[in-house]
C-alpha cells in the first residue's frame, strides 16, 4: 500500500486544513449575539416594518446587521445572492417577498413607488430619443392588493427630469415629475393625473414653476423636502423653491445668496400654500411624514427636542423631549403617519405626535443580556 501514501497524505491535508478553516469560520458566525426587540408596552404591529441597521464589532468579528421585529440578521449569515444584491433596498425586498409576480422586472424602488393599504403602484422609466429630443416613457403598473387585479399602462412625457412622487387620490394616479425646459432652463413641478381605466393622462397641471432669472449668476431650483417613507400616502408634498446667486471665487463657484420659499401642496384638494418657517427661527426641518414637519433642537443639557409642525393647521403640536443627558449617544429617528420613532440606547419608542403618548416601547436585548457594548446602531428606516 506504499503507493497510496502520497495521495493519502494530501487527502488528509486537504480535508484537515480546509475542514478546520470552514468549521472555524462557521463557528465565528454562530457565536454572534441574537439581539431582538422585546416589547415593553404598546402595539407591536407599529414596528413590524421597522428596520434598525448597525454593526457588531467585537474581537475578530466586524459584522453589519439588520434588526427587525422578526429578529436579527448579520451580513455574514446572508447567502451569496443576498450578499451580491446587497442589504440596502429593504422595501424592494419586502415587496418582492409579498408580491413576487408583480415585482418582476423592477430593478429599483425609490420615488417611483406608491403603496397604501389597497394599492401598489410602480412606475418604470425608459428613455427614447426622437429627433434629438429625449422622451420619457413611463410604464405604470398597478396592483389591487385585495382583488390581485393588475393594470398596466404607458404614458409619454417630454422634458422630464425625474419622478418626484407618486400618489393615488380619488381613483386617479398622480405622478409628480420635475421638468426642465431645454431652451429656457425653466424648472417646474407637474402633476400628471392618470385615470387607470383609460390609461392616459387626463390632466397635466403645473404646480410650481420657476423661471430662470436674466442675471447670469443666478439660478433657480426646486427641490422636494425629503420624506421619511417614500412610498407612503401623503396629504401634503413640500417643495423648496429657491434662487441661488453664485459668484466665481478663487476656489471655484460659490453660493453667496440663497432665497427660498417653502411650499406645501395639498394632494387631496390640489391647493398650495406658502409656509413661513425660517430656519433661523425654528431650527432644522429634519423629517416630514405627509402631515407633520419635524424640527429638532438640542437643549443646553444635551437633550433632543422634537417639534412637530402641523402643515394643515399651520401650528406646532406639543414638543417631544428625548433625554440624552451627558452620554451623547447616537439617536436614530424616523417618522411615519404622525408617529415618531426613536431608537436610543437599547430602547425603541414610538410617540403619537398628536397626543404626545408613547404608543409602543421595546427593549433591544440578546437573551437576558442587555449589553450593547459592541453594538453600534447607525440607521433606522421602514422596509
Amino acid at each position: 500500500m506504499k503507493k497510496f501514501i502520497k495521495s493519502t497524505i494530501v487527502m488528509i491535508l486537504i480535508l484537515g486544513s480546509l475542514g478546520t478553516y470552514y468549521v472555524q469560520s462557521a463557528m465565528v458566525t454562530n457565536d454572534l449575539p441574537r439581539y431582538h426587540i422585546e416589547k415593553v408596552k404598546g402595539e407591536e404591529e407599529l414596528i413590524d416594518n421597522l428596520i434598525i441597521r448597525g454593526t457588531y464589532s467585537h474581537e475578530e468579528v466586524n459584522d453589519r446587521f439588520v434588526l427587525t421585529n422578526q429578529g436579527i440578521e448579520y451580513s455574514s449569515e446572508l447567502n451569496i445572492v443576498e450578499r451580491f444584491e446587497g442589504q440596502y433596498n429593504f422595501t424592494r425586498q419586502r415587496l418582492r417577498e409579498k408580491y413576487p409576480d408583480f415585482m418582476r422586472g423592477t430593478q429599483y424602488v425609490h420615488n417611483n413607488l406608491y403603496e397604501d393599504d389597497q394599492y401598489l403602484i410602480l412606475v418604470k422609466e425608459d428613455y427614447e430619443y426622437e429627433q434629438s429630443e429625449a422622451q420619457h416613457e413611463l410604464e405604470i403598473s398597478m396592483l389591487n392588493k385585495e382583488s390581485k387585479e393588475e393594470k398596466e399602462f404607458e404614458v409619454t412625457v417630454k422634458e422630464m427630469s425625474h419622478i418626484v412622487d407618486i400618489q393615488y387620490v380619488d381613483s386617479n394616479v398622480h405622478i409628480y415629475i420635475k421638468k426642465r425646459n431645454h431652451q429656457s432652463q425653466n424648472i417646474s413641478i407637474v402633476d400628471l393625473t392618470i385615470n387607470p381605466n383609460s390609461g392616459s393622462i387626463e390632466n397635466e397641471t403645473v404646480l410650481i414653476e420657476s423661471k430662470q432669472s436674466n442675471k447670469k449668476n443666478q439660478y433657480v431650483n426646486i427641490s422636494q423636502l425629503g420624506e421619511s417613507v417614500n412610498y407612503a400616502p401623503m396629504q401634503y408634498l413640500l417643495f423648496r423653491d429657491q434662487l441661488e446667486t453664485v459668484e466665481e471665487g478663487t476656489d471655484g463657484m460659490r453660493v453667496t445668496d440663497r432665497e427660498s420659499e417653502l411650499l406645501a401642496y395639498n394632494t387631496e384638494t390640489g391647493e398650495d400654500k406658502k409656509l413661513d418657517l425660517s430656519q433661523k427661527e425654528y431650527g432644522l426641518a429634519a423629517m416630514f411624514d405627509g402631515k407633520y414637519l419635524y424640527f429638532e433642537v438640542y437643549t443646553e443639557q444635551g437633550d433632543l427636542v422634537m417639534k412637530p409642525y402641523n402643515v394643515e393647521s399651520e401650528s406646532f403640536e406639543d414638543s417631544i423631549t428625548i433625554e440624552v443627558g451627558k452620554q451623547r449617544t447616537n439617536i436614530l429617528k424616523t417618522v411615519k403617519d404622525g408617529q415618531l420613532y426613536i431608537v436610543h440606547n437599547s430602547k425603541v419608542k414610538v410617540f403619537d405626535v398628536q397626543s404626545g403618548d408613547v404608543v409602543y416601547e421595546g427593549k433591544i436585548v440578546s437573551g437576558d443580556n442587555p449589553d450593547l457594548e459592541f453594538v453600534y446602531f447607525d440607521f433606522v428606516e421602514f422596509k
Binding site: L18, Y21, Q24, S25, F84, E85, R104
Partner: protein, 278 residues
C-alpha cells in the same frame, strides 16, 4: 471503482513530485517575504530610535506597529500563489498531452486498459483537483507557519494582532482562494471544476479530430461559455428585462452549469470510447 481509484492514485503519483516541489517553493519564498518584511521593519525601528535619541518606550509611542498583513502584501507572498495557479493551468493541458507526445506513448497503455476509458478522464480530473486543493490547503498551513515565524521575529509591543479571518478577507488572493463563506468556496471551485471539465473536452476533441478538432474545440468552448452566460444575458434589458430575480437566475445558473458539466462528460466519454486516436 477500484480501477478508478488505482488509476487516480497512479496519475496523482505522477504529479506528486511537482506538487511537493511547488509546496516547498511556496513556503520558502513566502518565508522570504516574512524575513524581508520583519528585518526592514526592525531596522527602521532601530534606526528611528537611534536618530531621534529615544528610549525604546518613547519610540514605541510614535511608531506604527506592523501586522502580518504587511507580509501578505509583499510580492514574495503572492508571487508564488500566481506561479502555482499558472502551474495548475499548465498541468491541465500537460496531463493529457504528455501521454501522446514524446518518445513514450503511454496513451496506448491507458487506452488498452481493461477498464472503462472514462476512468482515465475521471482520474486526470481528480488529480488536477487534488493538486489544486492540496496547494490551497497547504497555503493555509503555510500561513500559520509563516505567522508564527513572524510572531517570533517581531516583539509583541511592535506587533498588531490581526485575526485570521480578517487577514484572509483583506487580500484579494486569499479572498478568492479561500473565501470565508463556504457557499462562495463551492461556487468558486464549482466553476473551476466545470472549466476544467470543459477544457478536458476541448482537448479530447482536438485529440480525436486533430486540426478539425481545434476548430471544433474552440466552438465547443465558446458554446459552453455562451450556455453558462445565457441566463444572465437573456435576463438583461433587451430581452427579459430582469424578469427573473437574481436568486432565480442563481438556481437557473446552477442547473445550466450542471447541464454543461454533464454534457461535457458525456461527450468526453463518447470521444474516449469511440473517437480518440493514438
Amino acid at each position: 471503482m477500484k480501477n478508478f481509484i488505482k488509476l487516480a492514485n497512479f496519475e496523482f503519483n505522477r504529479m506528486s513530485k511537482l506538487l511537493f516541489a511547488l509546496m516547498g517553493f511556496v513556503l520558502v519564498v513566502q518565508l522570504g517575504a516574512v524575513f524581508y518584511e520583519t528585518s526592514t521593519f526592525m531596522s527602521k525601528f532601530n534606526q528611528y530610535m537611534e536618530n531621534e535619541q529615544l528610549t525604546r518606550e518613547q519610540a514605541l509611542m510614535n511608531f506604527d506597529t506592523i501586522s502580518f498583513g504587511a507580509v501578505m502584501g509583499n510580492i514574495l507572498f503572492f508571487g508564488p500563489i500566481f506561479i502555482c495557479v499558472g502551474a495548475i493551468l499548465f498541468y491541465i493541458f500537460l496531463i493529457w498531452y504528455r501521454d501522446w507526445l514524446g518518445k513514450n506513448t503511454f496513451v496506448y497503455r491507458l487506452l488498452m486498459l481493461p477498464t472503462e476509458r472514462f476512468n482515465i478522464f475521471l482520474s486526470k480530473l481528480t488529480t488536477v483537483l487534488m493538486a489544486t486543493f492540496g496547494l490551497v490547503a497547504f497555503q493555509l498551513v503555510a500561513i500559520l507557519i509563516e505567522r508564527s515565524v513572524f510572531n517570533l521575529l517581531i516583539p509583541d509591543d511592535l506587533r498588531q494582532e490581526v485575526y485570521f479571518n480578517q487577514l484572509m478577507n483583506t487580500y484579494p488572493f486569499t479572498r478568492i482562494l479561500l473565501p470565508t463563506n463556504f457557499d462562495e468556496f463551492l461556487i468558486f471551485y464549482g466553476t473551476g471544476i466545470l472549466s476544467v471539465v470543459v477544457i478536458f473536452t476541448v482537448i479530447l476533441l482536438e485529440r480525436s479530430f486533430r486540426i478539425k478538432g481545434i476548430a471544433l474545440g474552440i466552438l465547443y468552448g465558446l458554446a459552453m461559455v455562451g450556455l453558462v452566460l445565457s441566463p444572465i444575458i437573456i435576463n438583461e434589458e433587451w430581452f427579459l428585462d430582469h424578469y427573473f430575480y437574481l436568486s432565480e437566475i442563481f438556481w437557473i445558473e446552477v442547473v445550466v452549469s450542471l447541464i454543461a458539466l454533464a454534457l461535457s462528460m458525456i461527450i468526453s466519454r463518447k470521444l474516449l470510447n469511440d473517437k480518440v486516436r493514438v
